[in-house]
Every structure is written in C-alpha cells, then in structure tokens.
Amino acid sequence: MSDTTYEGGIADTRARQQDTPVHLPNSTPRPEGELERLKQVWRAPRGFHFLSAVNNNYVGVWYVGAALLFFVLAGALALIIRTQLAQPEFRLIGHDLYNQLFTMHGTIMMFLFAVPMVEAMGVYLLPNMQAARDLPFPRLSAYAFWAYFIGGTAFFTSLFFGLAPNGGWFMYPPLTSYKYSPGINADFWLLGIGFIEISAIAGAIEIIVGILKTRAPGQSLDKLPIYSWAMLIFALMIVFAFPAIITATLLLEIERAFHWPFFIAEQGGDPLLWQHLFWFFGHPEVYVIFLPAAGMVSMMVPTMAQTPLSGYRLVVLAIIATGFLSFGLWVHHMFTTGLPTLSLNFFSAASMAVAIPSGIQVFAWISTIASGKLQMRTPTYFLLGFLFIFVLGGLTGVMVAVVPFDWQAHDTYFVVAHFHYVLIGGMVFPIFAAFYYWAPTASSRPLSETLGKWVFWLMFIGVNVTFFTMHITGLMGMPRRTYTYIAEMGWGTLNMISTLGSYMIGLGVLIFLVDLAKNFRPFRGENAGNVWNAGTLEWLPSENYQTRSIPIITSREPIWDQPNLAEDVKAGRYFLPGAQTGGRETIITSPIDARPQYILQLPGPSWPTVLAALFTACFFLGLTIKLYIPALVCGILAIAFVIWWLWGSDPGPAVDPEIDVGGGLVLPTYMTGSMSHSWWAMIVLILVTGTVFACLIFSYFFLWTVNPDIWPRSGEALPWFGWPIGAALLYVASSALIWFAGRRLSHVPERSSWPTRIALILAVPLILGAVSLEVLGQLSTEVRPTDSGYGAVVYMLSSFQGFFVTVLSVMALYTVARSLTGRLNRVRRSTFDNTHLFWHYGVAQGLVALVVVHIFPRLLG
C-alpha cells in the first residue's frame, strides 16, 4: 500500500491520543515470532478438548452443521408425511403418528433449522465480513450452540418414544391445554421450544453487539455489507418478537402444570390471547428467516455479476422497512377468527405493504444483474431459482392478504403451497447458494460445480412439482393437517404428484450431502480462497485468527477498490498484526462510523460454557419428563457453571493498559460505560426482558377487554392499598442503595470498598421484601390464580417479578463477591455497571406492574 497518514487520527476514545495522527503501513517485514505468537494464541484445542473451542470459525461451522442435520431430519419426516398422503385412505401410519410428524416437521423446520441456520451463518460470516477476529462474546455463541444442539437432539428423540408434540407447530389452546392434551407431548414442545428460543435470543444479543461494535476501522454504516445490515435488523426482530413466544409458552405451560386459566374461556381466559401472542412472534419470524437470506443474496449477486449492488441505500431502507412492517401484520393469520372488519382491513393493507420492500430488493438484484455480467456458476443457479420460487410465493402471499380470498384459502393446501414457496424460495435456496458460495472460505476445497448443478435441478424441479400442485389441491378444498382423505374427493392424483416431487427434493439434498462428504474439508488452517473474485472482507486471506492484520476500509467492496489490500493485510501492514495483549483480542469500534475505541480481550476455549449449556438442557428436559429432583440438580449445576464462566470475564485492563496496535494508533485495553461492548449487551438484554414484560401487560389488558366482568370493580376485591405502597417504597429504597454503591465505587481503591459492599448486600432483602409484599397483598384477598383469567394474570405478573428479583439478588451478591476478591474498583467496574443498569430497570418494571395491578382496577371504579 502507498504511505498514508490520517491527520487528526481515526480513533474515538476518551483518552488524549484521540487526535494523534495515524501513519500506515506498518513497517515490514514484521518482527520475528509475531505471526507464530498470533497463531499460537488462536490455536484450537486438540483432541477431546476440541469441543471446548469457542472461536466463531469453529462454533459457526458446527452450528451450521447442526442446523443442516435438523433440516435433513425434518425433511425425512416430510417424506413420510408425503408417502402417507400419496394415496387416499392409505394406512402407512396412523393418525397419531401422523399428527406428531406434521407437528415435528413444522416445529423443527422453523425452530431447529431456519432460525438457527441463519443465526449460525451469522456467527460464522459476520466477523469475517467485518474483519473482526471474533464476535464480542465468543462463549455466549458457544453456549447458544450447545444449548440448541443438545436441547434440539433431545426434543427430536421424543418421536421415538411416541411422546412428540401433536398439537401442530402453532399449538393452539384449548387443544394443547391439559384437558385435551393430558400427555407430556405438549410439554416437550413448550419447554423444548421455549428453551431453544432463549438460545436464539442469546445469539441475537451477540450478533447485535458484534455488528455495531466489532467492525473494521472505517467500515461506517454506509459501507456496512448488506448482509450485516440484514443481520442487524434480523437480530433486533428476534429481540422484539421472540419474547412474545416465550411469554406464550410460559403461560401455557403454567396453565398445563398448575391450571392457571389464561386460555380457558369458561374461566375468563381466552384462546385468542395465545393466537395474538403466537402470531406477534410468528409473523416477524417469517421475515426473521427471510431477511438474512435476502442479505446473503445481496452479497452473492454482486459477486456473481462482478459489479457492486445497485441501489444499496434503497436495499438498506427496504430491509429496515421490512423489520418495522412485519410487526404490524400478525393478524393476517387470524382472518377467519371473526375479528371486526375494520381490523381485518388494517392488517390486510399492512400485509400488502410488506410486499413493497421485497419488491425493491428483487428489482435491485435484477438491476445488479443488468449492470454486470452474470457468471453461470452453481451459486448463480440457486440464486435464479430463489428469484423464481420466491417471487411466485410472494404473489400468492399478496393473494392471501386479501381478506375474502383468505377465507377460502386459509388452512388449505393453497396456504401450504404458498408458505413453502416463500420459505424454500426465500430461505432454503439462498442458503444452498450460500453453501456453495462461502464453502471456499471454510474448506480447503470448494464444493463440486457438477454435483451442485445436479442438486439444483433436482431441488428446483422437485419443489415446483411438489408445491405448485398443492395450490390446486388447496383450491379443490383439501384442508391442511389431515392424515387421510376419502378416495371420492378426487385429490389422489394431485397428492401423488406432490409426493413424487418431494422425493426429487430428497434426492437433491442427498446428493448435496455426498458433495459435502467428498469436498468439504474445514478446520485445516487453510481455505480455498477467493474463488469467485469477490470484493468483501471475508475473502481476505485468513486463518483461525481471521486476517493477519485488520485493515482500514474506504469502500463497500474493499478488495475490488483498495489495490493490494489482500497482500498488505496478509503481510501485517495494518492494525493488530500480532497478539499485542498476549491473548486473543479484537478492535472495538464506534457503532456509527466504526472508529477504533479500545482493544477487547477475548476469551479462549472454555469447558464451563459447554457444561453450562449441557446442564441447562438437562434442567429443561428434566422438567418436561417430570423428574423434578434431577432437574433441580441440573439447574443448580447450570447456574454454577455460568458463574464459573462469568468469573473469567471482566478482566480489567491488560498488563499494558494502552497498546499501540500499529501505525501509531494507541488504544486502551479496557473500557466501561456506554462505549463498552458489555454495556450494549445489557441494553439489548433489557429490551428483551422489557418485551416479555410488555407481553404480560398486554395479556392483562387483553383479558380485561374480553372479560371485564371478572375484574374487581371496587377496592374490596383488591389488596389494601398499603401493600403496594410498601412494595413501591422498598423498590425505590433498593434502587437508592444501588445508586449509592455506584457513587462510592468511584473512589475505590483510594477509599474503602465496604460502603459499596454493604449497600449491595442491603439492597437484596429490600427488593426481595418488595416482591414479597406484593404477593402477600394478593394472598390477603379472596383471589387465587386458579380462579379466573384475572387471578392467573395478576399472580403471573408477581411471579415474573419474583423471578426477576431473584436474578437481581444473585447479580448483587456476585458483584459483592467480585469486590471481596479484589476484582472490582473504580476502573474495573463493568460487572457493577451491568448489575446497576439491570437493577434500576427491574425496579422500574416492578413499579409499572404495581400501577397496573393496583391502580388500573380502581380507575374502573
């Protein structure tokens, strides 16, 4: 590279070196042993310990592999389903197994394949695309992966015991409540999926902070790869959508276990509450799956056409618009429930509007193809196949958004055809394109072009044969979720065609697996390199440590626009050419313009993380099969391992508190407050819990609008006002103590740590007391949670707050322990800051709950 001096500096730090000019390139050749040290620090553990690896290049590939495994398994279930339906009144499998199979097929495809797959690709690709050495919380992604993989496998095996859920992937009560589903099949769904959603949220937090905070210097938002944009919106959508399903599963599991009647109409619950919560998650879910895939397409099309993406800004706007709009159309899954016409019209309009951002992206891709010269390689085939299938699925999507048409098409095979077109077109084909496209970054050999085309044609023809036919089957009146049909209905031939098509898809996937077995060779420390002549950073020469040095970016396609970039990066002419802090590290940058802020010291291989995931999975599994004592033991072990894992985080400044990362750029090695990556993660976690809480508040008001009669009319049925006043005072007092602890911490170590410790310890009984007063107040009335929807939701709010306050207490005591062991002071205070933020949030949440529960009914008079 030519000598460049960045006058006025490029850093964004609090320290004085902010304006120091930066001069690149670094001198070469680099000092002896620098590269060896870098390699040594990032070396994967050997042998059995390989499983404790946390680096995204390993975890990402495992994660993708596990998601692929579930895709194949759920696909196999689909083939059994299709065989059963190939002929009318066929008796291959009984209704009981059939109902389990279609439930498992949908559930696994959505929760164990689609969401984990796009998240896995993000874990693998994002640091590569942003030239970061890893995501900011490598152990969190490892935890998310292991929890998902172990939990998912246990969930799948329920099929072999005839215990698999059979209430449909949408699990509508009352069919799935204790009266009509007394077995533990439904519990497998509720606990299994609830748990896997938690893993998805963990991944989303990781991805948000990763995209915002670990980028190549200079990779400002307007130069961010479209894929990163898509993943940012994807992860934010998870943050706001998944809490709804977590709330819903929590309520239904409590209804099943303790008979709190949230969804039982006779007792003042409402089955429609489930549908609202489920689809408030369920519709964004579709875009949660589609956006990352669309983001991948926006990366692949420019490479295959050898030209930058047309309409970059329009595409970014389209992605953001999709994120917003997708939260406003969940009711289009409920057009046949008899809702008022006005709300049907609103949601119909919103459902159509969401087609526009997809249209923008489709025409941006076509425009890109027109601008360049499309190379007809295997990824291109899948991309064109995607365009064909997805556009067709989008058009039928507009049709079902028209309310009267939906009255006919809803819950028929027309809808089955529609969403398979959308999901296979919108997600599976882009993912297969991505497998062929990005395999050379992970594997020492690319996948086979010849086999790839076989895979494509079998899948493409198979999908159209299977699912186009289903449009007609549906229009001819065949409902979904039926294990058989009468011969006279005349649906036999169409079903046979669909079944034959599905075998073609199966054959295509099988050939893909052969291709993988023959050619995919990951973890060899080398890769096939930039085989497509792509322009983005994941194609820089890389190894386990990612790139040798971290470049400054001045373009959206730096490899195309910055001459010699690959050679300079590889020669270590940019930032962080070695392991400067002595361990794993990466550069944290500012969220908008990606200016370097500090060096994040990253953790290496970790067994406690894997064990924490294992015992979390065992805890949920134990609850499901009603082995409560082992479940409790596993739960305690899980918490113990999480604490062990966390104990190593918040390391404080490195031996050298400030480090020259190259070119005269000096960065601190530790940061607290709003620049810190952990502060951002805590904010996202608060958004998640806030959404869960908002869903509970929604449930409270929803049940009130449905059954206002069961709400207490006067103060008499409510607890005496003194109870909530007392609780509120204790909440506020605990917050004040935490605030005081923070003030005093600013003077440690000059002054004693004891006031901080004592304030933290005292805050615990106060906040526990606050929640106890609330519960005692409720118990002082006649109302019990099993009485009515009102009782259930009121006690639910207190229970949720009780859980929350328990977590806060553990956090406070953990913080005290950090202080007692000398790990907490004025500088090294991230642990305290997190507790502090979460505490105030928890108190605010408790106060809102008190207002809703105690003041709202009194306002009703």
């Binding site: 209704h95 009509y180 016409t341 006919q408």
Partner: protein
C-alpha cells in the same frame, strides 16, 4: 355464480386434464343428484359469497401470472440482452418505478377491490333462517333456532336449507377450535370457545354441498366433514315438518327388534331418538338418521352395511372418537339395529 361459469368450466378442464376429478363439469339437476357430493372446491361455486371470491381469485391468478412473467422476462433481459440495450435497468429509476411505484399502484387497486368485496360479502338482507352449528370432536351438532334463539330442531352433520335466501349460521364450539367451511357456498369461519361467530350465506340452486372442518382439532380432524343440502323452499318446508316430528314407528318385526336392541344396548345414553326412551346428548341426534347422506360426519355413505360396520367397529374406522366399538353385537342383532336406524327417515 353465472358470470364465472366459464371460468369454473376452464378450471374443471384444467383439473380434469391433470387426471383429477371430472365430476366438476357435471351439472346438478335434482335435489338428490349426487354429482356435487364429492366436490369441495373453491372454484366450483353455487352461492353469491363463494362466487364473488371465485371472481376475485381469477383476477388475482391472471394478474399474478402476468406479474410473474414480467419479472422472469426482466431477469432474462438483464442476463442476456446486449449491455447497451439493458443500460436503462441499471439505475435507481428502474428500481424505484418497478419496486415501489408499480406495487403501490397495483396493491392499492387490489386492496380497494378487496375491501369492497369484503363489504358486499359481509352485509346483506335479513336471514330467512337461523341455524346454530356447534363443533364437537369430531362431528357437527346442528340446531335450527327461532328468532328468540330457542332450539326448534336438532340434527347432526347435515344442514338442510332453502335455496336463494341468506341463512344465518351461528357458530359455537363444545370443546376446541374448529372451523366451519363449505367452499362451494362461502369462505370459512372459526368456532372458538367463549366466542360466538355469525356468518350468512345462501345457495343459488338445489344441490348437495360438502363442507369440512378447516382448523386442526386433534386426532380425527381429517374425518370431520358435513353436508349442506339446499332445496327449493317448498321441499324444505316439507322436510322440516317431518324432521321436527318424532322418529317413525317400526312397521315390521325385524325393525321393531332393532329398536329394542338399540335401547337394550344402552345406545340411548349418548344418542337421542325422539319418541323413544333414548335421550342422550353426548353423541349425534339419530331421530331421522335414515334420511341423512352420510354417517360418521361425512366419512361413510349411509346404508345398512356402513351403519352395521360403524356400530361394531367405530374405533377401528375412526379411532379415538367417543363411540365405542360394539364388538359384542353379531349377525342378526347388528343387522336389526342397523336396519332400525336406516328406517328412521
């Protein structure tokens, strides 16, 4: 709907061409002409509500096909046209006009059409008849109710209506969520616990229209169908008069023996046969079961053979339904009960 007859015929040709039913093109003439009995198609419609949706469907299918071809054509052009001829596709105007302006215009038009259609389907003249349908796992309880909501007539799995006049259906459920759907006459509407949904539609002409549960409701969701039988008003009135009366008295000893066995075997614990001691309410009312088209909720044709088979092996034919298999009944006894039921016209 007359306007769409041509289109319906073309769909029939399409479906026939791919080896599917050819019965769709048959024209029903008389009331018990069973040509339509196995048609459950949204595209072969005999009522204004379903007809309007059928027209909408064709407009959208044709429009959708044209848009699809446009997108494919543009993609092919972008790939294969000479670079100078496809330059117009490379700028923002192309993306904005096709990605924003075009969908906004077409979708707005479609939305307005949908809203208008929605209104015409939902509102209408006052109903000629109110029928309450209660979803059960896995059959349909049918109540003809008067203006005060009093039940005047109880039946099951078959709804007879007069033609040409709107009928109000009051939809409820006894247990889980079901969905009431007769594609040839109207779209579906769910039956939700704690809720009462009301829909109105009519049949243009006499005929037998098949319906089926459209919301997954457990083990035997697949076998939960029913019939709507539309008849001219006079015929309907005559049917109603008979249907409202008690069960026919047996006239021959074999059938009288069947009635005795029916009572002795405790069938009356679950079933009602008005005019006999059988007054159970768990299962379908059987007072006039002999006149119905099907048994087991649209699953088997109704004749003495299927009735006998159902009584002896209900759990084999439709597992997990509430009716036990009366395997103890053999030969003559079984035939006698079946003959008795068949005689209940």
């Amino acid at each position: 709907m007359r306007r769409s007859r041509f289109l319906a015929a073309s769909l029939s040709c399409l479906t026939a061409a791919i080896g599917s039913i050819s019965a769709a093109s048959a024209q029903p003439s008389a009331i018990l002409d069973r040509a339509l009995m196995w048609i459950q198609s949204t595209m072969v419609t005999y009522g204004p509500s379903a007809g309007a949706i059928e027209t909408l469907s064709w407009i959208m299918f044709i429009g959708g096909t044209l848009i699809f071809l446009l997108v494919l054509g543009l993609t092919a052009f972008a790939m294969f046209a000479r670079p100078e001829r496809r330059r117009w596709m490379t700028n923002r105007t192309f993306i904005i006009s096709l990605g924003i302006v075009f969908p906004v215009v077409t979708l707005t038009a479609l939305l307005i059409y949908g809203l208008i259609l929605n209104r015409t389907i939902v509102t209408g003249e006052p109903p000629a008849l109110r029928i309450e349908v209660v979803g059960e796992r896995w059959w349909w309880r049918v109540h003809y109710v008067d203006a005060e909501g009093e039940i005047r007539l109880v039946s099951a799995n078959e709804i007879r209506i007069p033609t040409g006049r709107p009928i109000e259906f009051v939809l409820k459920t006894q247990d889980v969520i079901h969905s009431f759907w007769v594609p040839s006459l109207a779209g579906k509407l769910d039956m939700i616990p704690g809720d009462v949904n009301v829909t109105r539609f009519s049949a243009d002409r006499p005929g037998i229209y098949r319906g089926q549960c459209a919301e997954y409701c457990g083990e035997q969701h697949a076998l939960m169908a029913f019939y709507v039988v539309a008849m001219p008003q006079a015929e309907f009135d005559a049917w109603y008069a008979v249907e409202a009366g008690p069960a026919l008295e047996p006239t021959i000893p074999f059938i009288a023996r069947g009635r005795e066995l029916f009572i002795e075997n405790g069938c009356g614990a679950c079933h009602t046969v008005r005019g006999t001691p059988a007054d159970g309410v768990i299962g379908p009312d059987l007072t006039h079961i002999g006149s119905r088209l099907s048994i087991a909720a649209g699953t088997y044709p109704n004749n003495i053979g299927t009735l006998a088979g159902w009584i002896s092996s209900a759990q084999h034919l439709k597992p997990d339904n509430l009716m036990p298999s009366f395997g103890n009944l053999q030969g003559e006894e079984l035939r006698a009960i079946a003959a008795y039921l068949e005689s209940l016209k």
